[in-house]
Symmetry: C2
Subunit: 71 residues, 2 copies
C-alpha cells in the first residue's frame, strides 16, 4: 500500500467517524470539495499544509493520518 492509499483510507475513516461529508470537511478546512474527493481517490499527493488543516478539523494528530492501519 502506498502512502497516498494509507492517507486516503485514514482521511475517509476519520471524516466519516466525525460525521462529516466531503463538502463539510472541505468547507471547514477551507479547501475545495473536489480536492478532498481527489485525495480520497489518491489522485493527488497532499502536502503537509493540507494534511495539517484536515487533521485540525478532524481533531486527530496529523501523524495518525499517515499510520498504516494494518501495521
Amino acid at each position: 500500500m502506498t502512502l497516498r492509499q494509507t492517507f486516503a483510507m485514514n482521511l475517509r475513516r476519520y471524516r466519516q467517524a466525525a460525521g462529516l461529508s466531503q463538502e463539510d470537511l472541505a468547507h471547514r478546512a477551507e479547501i475545495d470539495r473536489t480536492y478532498v474527493s481527489s485525495l480520497e481517490r489518491c489522485q493527488y499527493a497532499a502536502t503537509l499544509d493540507i494534511i495539517e488543516r484536515l487533521a485540525r478539523e478532524l481533531n486527530v494528530d496529523p501523524a495518525e493520518l499517515l499510520r498504516d492501519p494494518s501495521g
Copy 2:
C-alpha cells in the same frame, strides 16, 4: 509549532541519526539536495510522495516524521 516545523525537525534528526548528509539522503531518495535543505528550513510543504521516499531511505515509518517530539 507548525507541521512543517515538526517535519523539518524530525527529518533532520532521523537523517543525522542515520549518519547521512543532506546530499546523501537526496541522492538515495532521488530528489534534489537543495530540496532536502529547503524542507529542513520549512521553505516548502513536502508532499506525501516525497515523505514516503524520505521515510523509506531513513528506515522510519512515515507517520514518525509527522509526530510532535514534545507530544
